[in-house]
Symmetry: C2
DNA sequence: CCTGCGCTTTGACCCAGATCAAAGGGGCGC
DNA sequence: GCGCCCCTTTGATCTGGGTCAAAGCGCAGG
């Protein structure tokens, strides 16, 4: 079965083509992927999947923000992945999920049935290659995150989070877009705390501290103005060269 | 050029065939890999590579223990990867290294020139597939590690480390081998501290605490006896099901 | 056998961040 | 416009683990 690219919704219609699964595919390969993909949406706060669930789809985030979290019985929760548009969920070759996946804002996913997706992997080396590249990028990000969790102070953690958000939301394709000084946070204080290995009170206090020191300005509690990125960068504790944080 | 498998040192001679790069290759593919591989050894304490170095080889650990570490100027250091036999170093598609790699004990690496290795990846889908699988396993391990760094207490961190070491050294291929109660630690207190996001003093105190509570017994400072793995597991703070920690 | 050196343990004290508690907002339904 | 609820901020206090300092301890070299 062949499908006209123009007639069907195709990967090239995704706003995330630059980084997602299909980034390197040619038109024919897109048609093949297209045959097995479907979209799914989740409301803010909704659980997308829970630890232990059978994982029979893999997916790419089209819009919105989701989190991967690991919890222990006594309630302690650590975020282990922040999923922004173009990020990938799930892994070919493993049948059950290791983490809780939650929609933080309204989320649209581009899903693929796992079995046919795995079959395609064998036939389309581009996708396999792309997945490896994404997995290794995520691994690098996870390692930077480990440095943050293990060795950074609360203030450095907050500054690092803001830099990360700034990079991801302002330069999604390596290009600066829009006002670089205004940053809209897609996540609550609690989500930040779970991200950073802190409590919400400490997160709040550090925001206040950075505001009082003129490093940031707050507009409501979801919008941050960053007068000078360099000043913020200095607060992160990172080396000058920076490097990828996610 | 074809080489007799018997005549040349081949991947099948590696003691790590069960998990390493070549795990799924057939004999012909092994020959291809064999043509570009070479062994290299490093003495304990030696730096294998530093952050920023050009990365023109990738490698698999044959024997010994190495670490990946990320440091910030003021001396704070966080280990971000513990490389035991069969683990993979480097990533195809990226030219420079993000972390410091250090030999903790004497280390033997099975190396591949990056360029020809990348060329082989395109031709041998098994290897690409295997690399993706390993990267995803490492990612899962990194995420468990993030939970440890962000939310566990010092005692839970030490117990988790001991469980991890026990799993890796006692069950390298999923099978129990040897005395499960005796564990020889391949790393110093300082290395453990960098692993766990603690100081050496805290590591030492927690060892003492676990010893006084009868959870472990110490024999010198590199050998630990674990009378009851279940008791130790309870100290890790992990859910009952456990899951992979590395 | 002594000495020196590096690793480890122990002790005393301190502080960043957790915990417990209470007081702001701000948006939404009525 | 008025409550109500949830999120956030602020305050007061506590404590786990860091910091600083000083002993052990094992072993290599003389």
């Amino acid at each position: 079965m062949t499908v006209s690219l123009a007639a069907a919704p195709s990967c090239s219609s995704c706003p995330i083509r630059h980084r997602a699964v299909c980034a390197r595919c040619d038109d024919d390969e897109l048609v093949r992927l297209n045959e097995i993909k479907f979209y799914k949406t989740y409301a803010a706060g909704q659980t997308i999947a829970m630890r232990g669930d059978a994982l029979d789809v893999v997916a790419s985030v089209v819009s919105g923000t989701a989190t991967l979290e690991r919890a222990i019985e006594d309630g302690r929760t650590q975020m282990v992945g922040l999923l922004l548009p173009s990020d990938f969920i799930g892994r070919p070759g493993r049948a059950t999920l290791q983490y809780d996946v939650t929609a933080v804002s309204d989320v649209t996913l581009c899903c693929f049935q796992r079995k046919p997706f795995e079959a395609l992997l064998i036939e389309i080396p581009h996708v396999q290659e792309r997945l490896l590249e994404m997995a290794l990028d995520e691994l690098d990000a996870a390692r930077d995150w480990m440095l943050l969790l293990g060795r950074k102070t609360a203030r450095e953690k907050i500054a690092s989070l803001l830099m990360l958000m700034a990079k991801r939301t302002m330069h999604p394709d390596g290009q600066v877009m829009g006002d670089t000084s205004r940053l809209e946070l897609p996540i609550s204080r609690e989500t930040m705390a779970n991200f950073l290995g802190l409590t919400i009170e400490t997160v709040s206090r550090q925001f206040t501290g950075l505001r009082k020191d003129g490093v940031i300005a707050l507009d409501g509690n979801r919008v941050v103005h960053i007068p000078d990125l360099e000043t913020l960068l200095m607060e992160t504790g990172d080396d000058s060269d920076g490097g990828p944080l996610i």
